[in-house]
Amino acid sequence: MLKSFLLENWKVFTESPFPSSMEAVPITSCTKDYGNDVVLIFINNYPYPQYIMKISRSPFYGLKLKNEYLALKSLQKVKGLNYYVPFPYYCGSLGGNIFFIQGGIPGTSLWRLIRKKKSIDACKLLIDESIDLLIAINSLGFSRDRVFSEEKKNGHFLTQYEEEFIGSGLSIKKIEELKDYWEKFEKYGHRFFLHGDYWQANIMVDERGRKISGIIDWEFSEESASAPTDIIWFMINLGYCLYLRANPEGDLLDSFRWSFFTPGRHSEMLSSIFSKYITAIGWKQDLLRILLETALVEMSVRNLVTYGRHFDMDKICLQMLHYAIANEGSICIR
């Protein structure tokens, strides 16, 4: 069984001696077939799981885990960043399902901390540190083994799924404009290493809430991307997290309208984050609208490109894309 399987193969998996005690705790954060089963492995009475085991629920969706394993292996070689990255211990497959054992990162998530703290000012330093880390990640220039298809990164899916976008109500003129952006990004020549799901729940903060302790969930990471879309996903979710503080039942689309299209303290905060990021990577400030739309296009078909079907988040991203296009003039992040 699970625990015995781990103990039986412990030395192979972790290259460390047998623990004096071990508990394997299965948790499931997503019951859909494309999700993973996650097992928290507690050893030697440590209060946090020191190892995390992810198991793909269906062999069809195992690529994400293999991709994460390869990304973490590459990142281990980057001095300074390797401290923030879970150690990739072992990746294998059993009965067709891929499993991946990685090091656990202690602490709580930045998402929880922002939701919990009475004042957002207490989290500002951590948000700043997250941006510094994102700049460091995105600026990495190396290649590694790939498991996803090439189409994902070069934007050809705009042509491939053109009918889908037209069917959703996007004009042909807009699609052509978006294709132009992609081509310009390609010609620009900048290449970015993307985390692929860089949001506050994947940023771990130490127990005292004073510094970032690690970045988790690298399943959608990719190298050599032509557009740095991580920053957009970070900003959309930061807006959502701030929105939930005042509206606990609010949804992502409402928060998107509130944080990107309604002037206020939150939009100023997002503006300063974007300004810091875009200056650091050497791009122009006025690219926000283009980058926002480009990122939402990518996110609305990401799963379709990778797995041949839409997941729930795709639909929400498509709705955000439509809203962003319809309200291009009133975006208040500068």
């Binding site: 015995s4 039986e8 508990e23």
Partner: protein, 196 residues
């Protein structure tokens, strides 16, 4: 419903070469001691030559079909069984289940509490560090409303007082045979390593 529960539980059988799961459950619509059953085929195990069976029993709070459960376990060809599990509602049903498990001595039984609050967690309850684990899982909850905070503190008190059993919506008792090992990898071609 049965399949949904099993889909969540089957992670506990990771590393066990099971081909079928036969799950017995009471018919809640009828006042009868008879048990219904469902069989689930493991789609990922077709390459194995002699896959084993998982035998599962869902036992309701009234212990419907108690005698039938004992009879079934006795008559089932145990050499074909690689794991046995019981899903029970209350901890008071534990002695009944443990009696069956011990009689057939497949291995050391493991008890899990089903935590309904953080998605679907199966918290091991008969380990040395179960309080630490319970405390950690409790901390994962995202409800920061006044009500959520009160509930969290209440739960913490129950854990420290050793009364955490009332927090769970059910319990799972599992017992199993020896799992797959990397050392026997040649006999189990299903286990592949990507360690480069």
């Amino acid at each position: 419903m049965m399949i949904e529960i099993f889909e969540r539980l089957k992670i506990l059988f990771w590393g066990v070469e099971w081909g079928h799961a036969t799950i017995y459950y009471p018919d809640n619509n009828k006042d009868t001691e008879k048990l219904q059953f469902k069989q689930i085929v493991n789609p990922n195990i077709s390459s194995l030559q002699n896959p084993k069976d998982i035998l599962g029993f869902e036992i309701d709070g009234r212990c419907t079909g108690k005698r039938k459960v004992v009879e079934l376990v006795k008559t089932f060809p145990l050499d074909r069984v690689c794991a046995l599990y019981f899903l029970i509602e209350k901890k008071t049903q534990l002695p009944f289940v443990m009696d069956i498990v011990e009689e057939f001595s497949l291995g050391k039984p493991k008890l899990y509490g089903i935590d309904p609050d953080y998605f679907f967690s199966l918290i091991p309850l008969n380990g040395n560090s179960h309080r630490l684990v319970e405390k950690y899982i409790l901390g994962l909850k995202n409800d920061y409303s006044f009500r959520g905070t009160i509930i969290r503190y209440g739960k913490q008190v129950l854990i420290y007082a050793g009364l955490s059993a009332i927090l769970y919506e059910g319990f799972v008792v599992t017992v199993f045979r020896k799992p797959m090992s990397l050392s026997s990898n040649t006999q189990n071609p299903g286990l592949k390593s990507y360690l480069l």
